[in-house]
Symmetry: C2
Subunit: 484 residues, 2 copies
Amino acid sequence: MTERPTTQPGLDQALRAAARAAIVLAGSEPATRADWLRAIADELDAHRDELVVLAQEETHLPRPRLEGEVGRTTFQLRLTADAVVEGSWLEVAIDHADPNWPTGPRPDLRRVLRPLGPVLVVAASNFPFAFSVAGGDTASALGSGCPVLLKLHPGHPKLSDRTGELVLEALTKAGAPTGTFAMISSEADAQAALKDSRIKAGAFTGSIRGGRALFDIAAGRPDPVPFYGELGSVNPVFVLPSALRRQSETLSGFVSSYTLGVGQFCTKPGVLFAPHSQSVLDELAGLVKAVAPAPPLNDRIQQGFTGRLAELRELWQPVSEGTQTADGLSPSLFATTIDDALDDLDGLFEEAFGPASVVVSYEDPAELVAVARRLPGQLTATIHGDEDDPIAPELLGVLAGHAGRVIWNGWPTGVSVTWAMQHGGGWPATTASVHTSVGPTALRRFVTPISYQDVPEALLPAAVRDDNPLGIWQRIDGKLTPPN
Amino acid sequence: MTERPTTQPGLDQALRAAARAAIVLAGSEPATRADWLRAIADELDAHRDELVVLAQEETHLPRPRLEGEVGRTTFQLRLTADAVVEGSWLEVAIDHADPNWPTGPRPDLRRVLRPLGPVLVVAASNFPFAFSVAGGDTASALGSGCPVLLKLHPGHPKLSDRTGELVLEALTKAGAPTGTFAMISSEADAQAALKDSRIKAGAFTGSIRGGRALFDIAAGRPDPVPFYGELGSVNPVFVLPSALRRQSETLSGFVSSYTLGVGQFCTKPGVLFAPHSQSVLDELAGLVKAVAPAPPLNDRIQQGFTGRLAELRELWQPVSEGTQTADGLSPSLFATTIDDALDDLDGLFEEAFGPASVVVSYEDPAELVAVARRLPGQLTATIHGDEDDPIAPELLGVLAGHAGRVIWNGWPTGVSVTWAMQHGGGWPATTASVHTSVGPTALRRFVTPISYQDVPEALLPAAVRDDNPLGIWQRIDGKLTPPN
């Protein structure tokens, strides 16, 4: 009989163990941590069917979507592992001593990024794998050498617990020290953890209200720590007149995107700017009515969405009103004019978490630039049109100043896990706009630079040694240099 | 008759102009901004003698030090310019479309860092060139494409004004748009600016109290922004028993370092741990008494230091008490034991800004590790000893977790401006431990990633185009690739 490891040892014990593990992790090799991430990925893949069944019960998301999400999550762990080993993210710089350096004799200086220490990761509800227990935040924290204290999401407690068990088993078998990973389940414990000086950073995906509360705790500490929250975004889409040549394709793409996953994606397009046209509204109404109802993640989400829907009804004209049946929610669409929208941009740019969106009609494309200039920070902004559309360059330029990702003739849902992805943006899209939460560069959130000055070779960490035992990129005397 | 440009146009006008300039700067080429930085450097070099005279009057620092600091400042501008052009800091990643990507068909994605927008830079008093009007924060903000609103330090108003004029003249002649640089002088204006939504980040070098107040404003905004404050550090030095073989050299190095610049360096070693030895204390007393008095920067600094000195007298035993004469301050040194220090680590690790330091005697080197584990965040920590000293590896490892720079057999004062420098650390050394304020990597503070998805080549910024017109490093399909 084998005993299962305890995923929730209690907050105090978890923090003590994490602080001890942090010392071991700080001295661990990247390749070792990459093995841990790959072991977690293997364990999840081996238990995919079991996990998907649990996820279906708790989230009501369809099986193929959940199977795909497990694959995305294990790929994310493996891509992070590859990046950890590749090592350019460590930003190693070696400046050899130089008696003639212009600011005075330069000592031998070697810079590398080191892990911050234990990280509190607060899981999200809408991606029960990719942004939950073993999701991107966990992958990048562990990969960078930080123990993870994971606050599980109450929307999928059984799945979280089982995933946590598998993570812990994988880490233990792979030789990671006790305290590398643990879970907590209460909001009070999460807040207490974030106040505790042993926690050195926080990561979160969720609502603006929840994220702001945690951000305020992290920033209000006697010793403030970074808090990486991904909060809210309406992901506006700007349909230029030239895109109406492909009207049906554009409008059906939009409806598919905003109703995908029952509208519960952080990249859901919540506002569509389109040329004033009754034909557009009529076609949209038909498309929206044809979308089958689907169950939301849970009752709490449904209640929140119902409340937001009532506000949308107050604010804008209905194009198609969704219903709520035993099969779930069918989508809603509202419409307004750009003049009315400009009178209440706060109302327009507030997220509705569920299958609802707003179409804003405009007469003059120049008005789009005026609106774009007033956009709060967004995860994404999208343009549909032809590249020789006269407004395109200016609009693209303005949107690039307000969104983490600018999309051309595509849709914001579907966040590719790859080096060039940016999943972030200014407030309220995130609390920390200079970083991303998706892709290998997410590692940069949990590390801090350290310089070693004149430290003997024997005492230097491997990453900054002249013989480069890790085989990583090093900036040597100012010049970025590949490994041999 | 030529009219001098207005360096202080008033807060509202400055913010409006900065917001407009930000749009132009966001679209500017790195080489253009590099030219601006070099133009500023040339202008300062051309007026070095005039500036040094002003600085001498206002800061009482000796002429050679100030001349050297101008050189350091213009070098910093030029090194930043070189880094801006080299372009690897833009972290360009190009992932071409891939229908077989494991997380689903991958669109064409291109990531680059873009400037955040107008930055409030709050100047310091102790480096009237290198950390003031045209200092490192200004260089990295302008270099990354952010307009600068500079709060000048009241300790050197004439120098600030003249430096600001030269910066503005250089920028204007070099073709930078109006609003790229402006100054404000009141604390109230600085706070108002930091609260204004047009300011997208803050940078500061100064006291813990002042920095905390501004950090709280930045974090407390409805739309929080990053605030990079470099605040306080005691920069402890750990003298291992093996270093006493070079006792005189070690102790005289320490006294030189902590009294350098009248002890007004942020990297001043404020605590020295040394083996218990009357001979050490006697030798230190002699060395300290031999240091000539020198005037502090200004009356405010002198008052603050006098107050802190009174606290140090309450806390610890005097080894040598400094005096205050017409020639300025002579240094003070205090002593205590590690047992007493452990009873009041808060008192020990509070910075004294001026020529004072504390020697802490220990019996057992293992006690050093215990103290190091309780160190608050530091800009630097230093070890003196032989590399085969048995405690060295563990002590170095612990210190690397608490300080931005770890120094071996050297001294923390003298911050080389180079790629491998880290000038930062955990709270209270800085408000933002994951970044540096010195060296080319300081650019990373004022930029945020953006991904372009399926955007036509003609509409893409030069940095992420396949033909690589900027000739910069690009990570292409995951592989870091040098320019041709």
